[in-house]
């Protein structure tokens, strides 16, 4: 009993003095839609948090909430952070858009950053996203070079513009090597569900594809591809551990540089509203080391990556024909960002009907 009382007193002391210690200059907070252990999208955002922590050390205090459902719960999570002294809040999923803007109006001194959204209703709201499709184009080039069947399988999440953009970029990259290349698409209707993703991978392999790529976040498709002895691309993080003989490359979302930049701006007092869409050039999209492919393919992939990185080449450069046979981009014409951000049609060669 005595011990209990002692430990209670000790705990009370910790609680009352805990907040005084180590005064950080700035507090940054993250909200993730999935678990940080998904080894995909949320994991990569969390890597960004860790990079920022390593950079700023004691000057930066961090906090995060994982698996926050989109909907009524998101508003509470965001408001809780705003009230708990966060100076800048990164909400990392599309569904947080409206709650974030609502809370931002109530806390004008807190900076709000929303990944993948487009609404900036208050001066303290900024949006950011990455041009993942630049990496998809490189993947398409590799797939067409390495595939013997001439057909790749694409496990897609939801038919939102970002995902459609990725499928189209992959298709265009593949067609630059093999004009007859085909892509089969399976809509898993989830961002993270290892079971469904594995089933999708199996179904695609049974239909004769010999390369798998995914726009969902688990490592399951990579593991299925390994079992069945075909090649695959990783998603969001470097998944080479899950397919040492399978992974060709992976599009790695590197959010660290952006987070560090924005937190520095909060410290300096220079933070401003912005809409950042960074790609390979800005270091936000990075290709994992090229592996399990011929030297010739590797060389072509590296050249393609360099071309995009330097800004000399945009994956959406005409001539491009839509799936229905009508012309989208004339020769040499580059797609406008505004069209890409609302993209709802396929380019020619995609063997699927886009869910509308």
């Amino acid at each position: 009993m005595k011990k209990t009382i002692l430990s209670l007193a000790a705990a009370a002391a910790v609680m009352s003095f805990g907040t005084v210690a180590a005064e950080a200059k700035v507090k940054a907070c993250w909200i993730y839609v999935g678990p940080i252990g998904d080894f995909g999208y949320s994991y990569q955002h969390h890597q960004g948090l860790l990079e920022a922590k390593a950079k700023f050390g004691d000057e930066l205090e961090t906090a995060y909430l994982e698996s926050v459902p989109e909907g009524a719960d998101a508003e509470r999570a965001i408001e809780r952070f705003a009230r708990s002294g966060c100076n800048i809040i990164f909400a990392t999923s599309f569904g947080y858009m409206d709650p974030l803007n609502k809370v931002a109006g109530k806390f004008p001194d807190v900076k709000f950053e929303h990944a993948t959204g487009y609404k900036r209703e208050h001066p303290n709201v900024a949006t950011y996203n990455s041009k993942f499709h630049e990496g998809r184009y490189v993947q398409g080039v590799i797939a067409a070079k390495e595939s013997k069947a001439g057909v790749a399988g694409y496990i897609a999440s939801f038919p939102i513009p970002e995902v459609v953009m990725g499928i189209n970029a992959f298709m265009l990259g593949a067609q630059s090597v093999n004009p007859d290349f085909k892509v089969k698409v399976v809509w898993a209707n989830t961002w993270f569900d290892a079971g469904k993703e594995a089933d999708a991978a199996k179904a695609l392999i049974d239909q004769g594809v010999d390369i798998i790529t995914q726009h969902t976040d688990s490592t399951a498709p990579m593991q299925v591809a390994t079992e069945r002895g075909i090649k695959a691309f990783g998603q969001a993080s470097d998944m080479i551990k899950f397919g040492p003989t399978t992974q060709l490359t992976s599009i790695v979302d590197d959010w660290g540089p952006y987070y560090i930049e924005r937190i520095q701006e909060v410290i300096d007092g220079t933070w401003k509203q912005s809409d950042v869409w960074g790609g390979m050039k800005e270091g936000h999209v990075v290709m994992a080391p090229y592996a399990n492919m011929s030297d010739e393919t590797k060389k072509l992939a590296e050249e393609t990556e360099a071309k995009i990185k330097s800004g000399a080449f945009n994956p959406f450069t005409g001539p491009v024909t839509k799936q229905d046979g009508t012309e989208w981009l004339k020769a040499g014409e580059v797609a406008q960002d505004s069209v890409l951000l609302g993209l709802n049609f396929y380019v020619k060669g995609v063997d699927d009907k886009l869910p509308q």
Binding site: M15, Y64, E66, P355
Partner: protein
């Protein structure tokens, strides 16, 4: 030595009162052990879990927002379960209520008048009740198992909502993202006391529904009918109560309340339809119903406790840095102990000596 459960001749009033406290004590002990093993200060962890969310007014509002759908749905489910109708599909009825209730603000956004909101709520109730009527009809007409049909209809509702917000009801100004237009002010369920937080009238509906159902169950003939048909269908038949009509009554009431919860959540807390509008309220409400011992007033308390465990879990994640998984494991412990301790109301524990145990083992092996 062996532990046996022996049925009591009648409900123990003592344990009915004590069991929640025993459960709380066991949860605190088990939770303290878990947090200590994780290297966290258990007192601090429990403080953030149970006390911190109650300290601020805005947080109390959030508690009401989270508890409202749970209570509304669970109250309806209690009628079902008391009358021996196993409606597992409240999640689907919630979604259909939300969809039907959203017809006006989505398809006729220019129709703005004071009448819009009452119509939406009414349509939400009708939608949920109609969806609940499907498993009821199947049960009465074809004697199908309502557990299966109501559960399967959840997936139908989820996919239908998904299709609606990606297709016909997609916001024309929404950059092709899967969501409807946002509701106008006339279609938004107002906040009760907007100066201090965002709790909306959905919470008031929940409390009113709970009191109304409590009154119905304990003071009216209909309530008596529910209990008799639930406990003894044969006795109910002798009393002239119709089993089939009770099936419809239970499903219509619980479907209607789930539908009201759906449209209240969408109109009050979210402001538009999205591919997912519920983090599983329809299923969590099943736990709430039993946590409240199928008593509508007990369900109010149970809904608040479960909501508190969500809010406290978030506070603990942020403040002491435990992961989301730990938070859920702790929530699971709480529910487990509460439901397990209720066993003591109907059973008592008997310790059987080791010699007796051996005999039993011996006979089993032989």
């Amino acid at each position: 030595m062996r532990i046996e459960l022996v049925k009591r001749p009648e409900r123990s009033a003592l344990f009915a009162a004590l069991s929640p406290f025993i459960a709380l004590g066991l949860t605190l002990i088990a939770g303290a052990i878990m947090f200590s093993l994780l290297g966290k200060n258990p007192v601090e962890a429990l403080y953030y879990y149970f006390i911190d969310p109650l300290r601020e007014v805005w947080s109390l509002h959030e508690l009401a927002v989270k508890a409202a759908p749970l209570i509304l749905i669970a109250v309806g489910l209690s009628i079902c379960y008391l009358s021996n109708n196993w409606n597992i599909g409240a999640e689907g009825q919630f979604i259909v209520g939300a969809i039907v209730g959203s017809i006006l603000p989505v398809m006729f956004p220019d129709f703005q008048s004071w009448i819009v909101l009452p119509l939406m709520l009414l349509m939400g109730i009708v939608g949920g009740a109609a969806y609940g009527a499907i498993p009821a009809y199947l049960k009465v007409r074809f004697n199908t198992n309502e557990i299966l049909t109501s559960l399967m209809l959840v997936y139908v509702a989820q996919l239908f909502l998904d299709w609606m917000v990606r297709g016909p009801w997609r916001n024309p100004a929404g950059m092709n993202f899967p969501e409807t237009r946002t509701f106008s002010a006339a279609a938004t369920l107002p906040e009760i006391w907007s100066a201090s937080g965002r709790a909306n009238w959905g919470f008031v509906f929940a409390i009113v529904a709970a009191i109304a159902m409590w009154f119905m169950l304990s003071r009216t003939l209909k309530g008596f009918e529910v209990l008799v048909l639930g406990q003894s269908p044969r006795a109910g038949r002798f009393a002239g109560f119709s089993q089939s009509r009770m099936v419809f009554f239970a499903f219509l009431v619980s479907g209607g309340l789930a539908g009201l919860a759906g449209i209240s959540e969408v109109s009050g807390a979210i402001g538009q339809l999205r591919p997912t509008i519920s983090p599983g309220y329809g299923f969590a409400a099943i736990i709430v119903a039993f946590l409240g011992r199928l008593n509508p007033l007990g369900i109010i308390a149970a809904g608040l406790v479960l909501a508190l465990s969500y809010l406290g879990g978030e506070a603990a994640q942020i403040s002491i840095g435990v992961s989301d998984k730990v938070v859920r494991a702790f929530q699971g412990m709480l529910l487990f102990f509460v439901l397990a301790c209720d066993t003591l109301i109907l059973y008592r524990i008997r310790f059987v000596g080791s010699s007796a145990a051996k005999t039993v083992e011996g006979t089993q092996n032989a």
